[in-house]
């Protein structure tokens, strides 16, 4: 019972030393090693939700739903390749490795993407025959590790994506725990089973865009200049990075913001290195425009793309297409509440589960365990992915039509306004209800 003569103030927790921070400190003190997890940046940063489309009005007329077409097709790699990639929709599946994902998950991605008329991408570890079999368009990642890299697979690919960095860990490297190196993965990567995997942060045989230019020449010579070469970068210095990627000879630039996911890396890297996706687009597009390369070298944006609105906004700001990773996994069934009891046993809850490197995923997606991965039916899951891609495309078309566009790539920055100062400054569109763009002189 409170003694009225000696009252307590209500207990107050610290904003600085909040529950999560305190648990982080306790964990560090107990283990002596940094925390590793999967996924992208979880904290709130300015994002597409802070932008709105203006829509139709007295001065701008919308298109009718059915008869008046709104085209969504996109061609990637028109700069140098003999065979650019033609996509039915401007949404691709980002690179995720077999090893990080189960075979069933990779198959589901391939099935869903192919049904929707778009591409998937291999990840760290190489190309599996199943993936090549299930994806009508497959982009082959060329990473610092070079696990499983070989010229036969290179020639089977529809495009090659040279990974310089990714949003979750621009400049990434470091250690990954051993549980996910199953027999098949160990064999593909030529590593002893069950060991911690060390990850190189630079490519082994080139450093810098001047040498990258020569590496690209080599890759083109090996593949007879047939396929597009993409360069993937994280959200570090988007203006300079895009400029240098173009100068090094890229056909396509893939730009991944901090919300972009990874299979496993240090939490500190994910949350504290690399800029938000929204902040990266305009500098990258500016670089393309300054070099006269906008729409000639295509820009694919990734990192937290979730809805048709996100797709439309990314394209309006100047991207040619977007790529989804985390969202695709959620469509397949990742972090689904149906497994809540099992998430609780793992000390977490649906929507928060991110210890993918432990290989215990109840949804059977980020695991190599045969029993768990059998829970995912690749055909059903592929169907779900196709449905999700379809919805995003329809949503983006709806928005584009409302803005009077007959092609989704005709969306432009002037179709947008911002709800916050940060978003206005980053996206370089006016604050809603004003003509004001922070940082730009008044027009």
């Amino acid at each position: 019972m409170t003694d009225h003569r000696k009252p307590h103030t209500t207990p107050v927790k610290s904003w600085t030393f909040d529950d999560h921070t305190n648990s982080y400190i306790r964990r560090a003190a107990a283990t002596g090693i940094y925390d590793i997890r999967g996924g992208g940046a979880k904290r709130r940063v300015p994002h597409f939700d802070d932008l709105l489309f203006l829509g139709a009005s007295m001065s701008r007329y919308p298109l009718e739903g059915y008869r008046e077409k709104c085209d969504t097709s996109v061609k990637l790699g028109t700069r140098y390749a003999k065979n650019p990639i033609e996509l039915d929709i401007p949404i691709t599946i980002a690179g995720m490795s077999f090893g990080a994902l189960s075979g069933q998950a990779k198959e589901a991605l391939g099935r869903g993407a192919s049904a929707a008329g778009t591409s998937t991408t291999t990840g760290d570890g190489g190309m599996t025959p199943e993936e090549r079999g299930h994806s009508t368009k497959l982009v082959y990642q060329y990473l610092p590790s070079r696990y499983g890299m070989n010229p036969d697979d290179l020639r089977k690919a529809d495009a090659i994506e040279i990974v310089v960095g990714q949003g979750a860990k621009p400049g990434g490297g470091g250690m990954l725990l051993g549980q996910k190196i199953s027999d098949r993965v160990a064999e593909m990567r030529n590593l002893p089973k069950g060991i911690d995997q060390r990850s190189a942060c630079r490519h082994p045989d080139w450093t810098g865009p001047d040498d990258l230019e020569i590496k690209i020449l080599e890759l083109r010579e090996i593949t007879s200049w047939k396929v597009p070469i993409y360069i993937k970068i994280g959200g570090a210095r988007p203006y300079f990075d895009t400029t240098l990627a173009i100068k090094a000879g890229a056909d396509v630039v893939v730009l991944d913001g901090m919300q972009g996911g990874t299979a496993a890396t240090q939490d500190v890297f994910i949350e504290h290195v690399g800029q938000p996706t929204l902040a990266c687009i305009r500098p990258a597009v500016q670089a393309l425009q300054d070099l006269g390369m906008h729409r000639k070298v295509q820009l694919v944006l990734s990192g937290g793309i979730r809805t048709g609105a996100d797709v439309a906004k990314a394209l309006a700001l100047g991207a040619d297409a977007v790529s989804i990773g985390t969202a695709a996994l959620i469509a397949l069934g990742d972090n689904d509440p149906r497994w809540e009891k099992e998430y609780n046993k793992l000390g977490t809850t649906a929507g928060a589960y991110d210890d993918w490197h432990e290989g215990l995923d109840p949804a059977g997606i980020t695991t190599q365990d045969p029993q768990l991965s059998a829970r995912l039916d690749p055909i059903l899951a592929g169907q779900r992915l196709k449905n999700y891609l379809k919805v995003m495309t329809l949503e983006a078309q709806t928005i584009a039509r409302a803005c009077g566009k007959n092609h989704i790539l005709n969306l432009e920055p002037e179709d947008l306004c911002a709800l916050t100062m940060e978003a206005a400054a980053m996206a370089q569109v006016p604050l809603s209800g004003t003509n004001w763009i922070p940082g730009k002189p008044d027009v």
Binding site: I33, G178, I195, P204, L217, E218, I222
Partner: protein, 227 residues
């Protein structure tokens, strides 16, 4: 013998002709003259040709080689035989950095010196260097054999996995988790075989063997400083 002159033919033409040769070919002998430091010479080959390159090349000579036997009468730039899958490549002169990087198979012989990062991330290739190798060689080397008749530079075999390193000369310093190991009969056999195949005038008994201490295989807080 077919001769291709790089002052007259383009690089694309050269690689296209060589890549077009398949298993069944009458034309097995090829020669490239006047390479003059060009990059990506003879990359992506996929047939058991005999190719002579008369002169020095730039980066990535013989990149991703499969099955071909290539001899370079000169020196090569960075990344010679990067990601080689099979075949045999001999460099009469010196090799620049990253020689044999990420190679998965085949034999790379360098008669002169190789520079830094020789055999970086190697995945099964065999490399024999008659001269010296530079620093950070065999960094993160996973499998295969690196044989050096001369000296090795700093940080040899840093973060080594299961590749075997044999050095006859002096090793300036060893990298993280790389230690000298006992030379047993099976190692002597592997080494002598490689020496013979690469025409190296040396006896396996003159070499020391280096390999992974395997202490970084599973994280232990006490080794955190080595990462």
């Amino acid at each position: 013998m077919e001769t291709i002159d790089l002052t007259k033919s383009s690089l694309r033409d050269l690689n296209e002709i060589l890549q077009r040769q398949s298993e069944i070919t009458n034309q097995k002998q090829w020669e490239v003259i006047n390479p003059k430091g060009a990059h990506a010479v003879a990359v992506g080959l996929n047939a058991p040709l005999e190719l002579s390159i008369k002169g020095s090349t730039g980066y990535y000579c013989g990149g991703m080689n499969q099955k071909a036997n290539i001899k370079v009468y000169g020196s090569v730039g960075p990344g010679v035989c990067e990601n080689m899958m099979s075949g045999c490549v001999t460099i009469e002169g010196d090799a620049s950095q990253y020689a044999g990087a990420t190679g998965q198979g085949g034999l790379l012989v360098i008669k002169g010196n190789a520079a830094s990062r020789c055999g970086i991330s190697m995945k099964g290739i065999n490399i024999v260097v008659h001269g010296n190798i530079g620093h950070m060689s065999a960094f993160m080397a996973q499998s295969g054999n690196l044989v050096v008749l001369g000296d090795a530079g700093d940080a040899l075999g840093d973060s080594l996995y299961e590749a075997r390193l044999f050095v006859r000369g002096n090793v300036k310093s060893l990298g993280a988790d790389c230690v000298e190991k006992e030379m047993r009969p099976e190692h002597l056999n592997i080494l002598q075989d490689l020496l013979n195949r690469s025409n190296a005038n040396a006896d396996a008994k003159e070499f020391k063997r280096y390999g992974s201490a395997r202490s970084l295989y599973n994280f232990d807080i006490d080794n955190a400083g080595d990462y």
